[in-house]
């Protein structure tokens, strides 16, 4: 698996209303990597994600997966949205099975994989509950299980924990990290939370707004054997401070 993004540009609208949202965005994601895009609101992170998912098409530039340009959405790129996107009329298990049914897998396989992925996200007990009976964190775990069950080459996560409160968010971050370790998936995470990006990703790209572009890319090489301590460790805090300064430098000065 190799995702290549080269000189990606995107504008919305025409004429005087034309708005340049992305300018020359380039980066790569290789098999097994965990990559994060960090940027303030409006810096075009979701737009990048939608272009990779094939839900929008670029104005210019290349998005290609294993050498083939992306022309539309497909099950090789699974997506988890910020807003809860479970089907409210389906139970947790039916939601997880949904993608596999669209793919016309055999019943036997669907049943086994559904049980397996519910187990993976720790929700085997909630298989028969409707989304409205699940907490926000549980709903996002179902959404992740649903995306994984469809066997994507690349998992796209657009601020998946953005709507969760801080404690649940921290436990979800650890959950996601361990899931990545365990399953060897390839993930691209979007977040405006620098700490989240540094905790999870091996590669972090920082985006600046108007127009959206990558201003800095860092390889994050931290000892992640103990997540809880990592948050407080010196190298982590130093790196976070350094990048936070970079992000602050991008904010337009507020009138005083």
């Amino acid at each position: 698996m190799h995702l290549q993004i080269a000189n990606l540009c995107k504008s919305f609208g025409y004429g005087a209303q034309r708005k340049e949202v992305l300018r020359n965005v380039s980066f790569d994601v290789n098999a097994g990597e965990f990559v994060a895009l960090v940027g303030s609101s409006g810096s075009g992170k979701s737009t990048v994600m939608r272009l990779i998912a094939g839900l929008d098409s670029p104005s210019s530039g290349v998005v290609s997966l294993d050498g083939r340009p992306i022309t539309g959405p497909g099950s090789d790129r699974g997506m988890v949205f910020q807003k809860y996107s479970l089907y409210p009329w389906l139970t947790a298990a039916q939601n997880v099975a949904f993608g596999m049914e669209l793919q016309r897998r055999s019943r036997q396989e669907i049943r086994e994989r559904t049980a397996y992925f519910l187990e993976v996200v720790g929700l085997a007990d909630s298989a028969r509950r409707l989304p409205r009976e699940l907490s926000g964190g549980m709903q996002q775990r179902v959404a992740i299980a649903r995306a994984l069950a469809a066997e994507p080459k690349l998992l796209l996560l657009d601020e998946p924990f953005g709507a969760l409160d801080i404690q649940i968010r921290e436990s979800m971050q650890e959950f996601l990290y361990h899931l990545w370790q365990r399953t060897g998936l390839t993930a691209l995470l979007i977040t405006h939370d620098l700490e989240e990006a540094l905790l999870l990703a091996g590669q972090v790209h920082i985006m600046a707004p108007s127009p959206g572009r990558i201003v800095r890319s860092v390889a994050v090489d931290l000892d992640r054997s103990a997540m809880g301590q990592l948050r407080l460790s010196r190298p982590f805090l130093d790196l976070r401070e350094e990048l936070a300064q970079c992000l602050r430098g991008l904010e337009p000065a507020l009138p005083t």
Binding site: A53, G54, L55, P73, G74, S75, R77, G78, M79, F81, K83, S85, Y87, P88, W89, F98, G99, E101, L102, Q103, L130, R132, A143, R146, A147, A150, L156
Partner: protein
């Protein structure tokens, strides 16, 4: 006293009480003789008129005729409104083409079409069924279109990223999401269908609940008019409750 409290807490208790109070007032006013019997027949007289029409088979025949018209007209309307509404809700071109037209026709009062329908199709069943169709189709379509437009984008896009394409998106995402609103739309517009069938029968019919009422008026039989009104109301209520029950069973997630 606790028994009474439990009774009053039943969801239907107050509704039944309200109906009971009106019935009682009706009975008392009629019994007091202050209002001319011609204007306000007593509940007993109305009940008797009902029994008479029931035993002669007239009531059943009238009700069947009206129900049949409503069901055929409304089934056509509902059945056609579903695909058209979904097409308008999902396709911008179709929507821009049809929405102004439908918005315009929707505001033309359906009963105003009766003279035309009679000229075109005579006095048989067809014009009555068509009246119900005209009177409900545009509302059904536009309300279904709105329901489709409110399908959250994420739900459709999730299906796309899971490998869904084309028709399954419609049947597995759009259809289940709009089902509760569609049922509610049908329930609401069914009431107009009942209004229209009675109007059509008042104008021209040989049988039907509306026809019976207009005949009763000719002979000043207010008890039969009351009876007709109550029967129409009861049938409407039963249909309404039927739709609600269907909704509870089929769309439990939305209630």
């Amino acid at each position: 006293m606790p028994a009474f409290r439990r009774l009053i807490r039943h969801p239907w208790a107050l509704g039944i009480l309200g109906i009971g109070i009106v019935l009682l007032l009706w009975f008392l006013i009629a019994a007091s003789g202050t209002v001319n019997k011609l204007f306000l027949p007593s509940p007993q007289a109305v009940w008797q008129a009902g029994q008479q029409q029931w035993s002669s088979g007239l009531l059943l025949k009238d009700a069947a005729a009206s129900i049949q018209r409503v069901f055929i007209g409304f089934a056509l309307s509902a059945g056609l409104a579903l695909p058209v509404g979904i097409a308008m809700g999902t396709n911008v071109v179709i929507c821009r083409l049809l929405e102004p037209l439908m918005g315009l026709i929707r505001y033309m009062p359906a009963p105003a079409f009766i003279p035309l329908l009679i000229i075109y199709f005579g006095l048989e069943e067809l014009p009555k069924v068509l009246l119900i169709f005209i009177g409900t189709f545009f509302f059904n379509t536009l309300m279904i279109m709105d329901a489709v437009k409110f399908v959250p984008r994420e739900l459709v896009e999730t299906a796309l990223t899971l490998g869904g394409r084309g028709l399954p998106i419609l049947t597995r995402v759009v259809a289940p999401f709009i089902a509760p609103q569609v049922l509610d739309t049908y329930r609401i517009n069914m009431a107009s269908a009942w209004n229209l069938v009675i109007v059509a029968e008042l104008v021209a019919a040989t049988e039907g609940l509306g026809k019976r009422i207009s005949l009763a008026q000719r002979f000043l039989k207010t008890d039969e008019i009351f009876m007709g009104l109550i029967v129409i109301g009861l049938i409407g209520l039963v249909i309404d409750l039927g739709f609600r029950a269907l909704m509870r069973r089929a769309c439990a997630w939305a209630t």
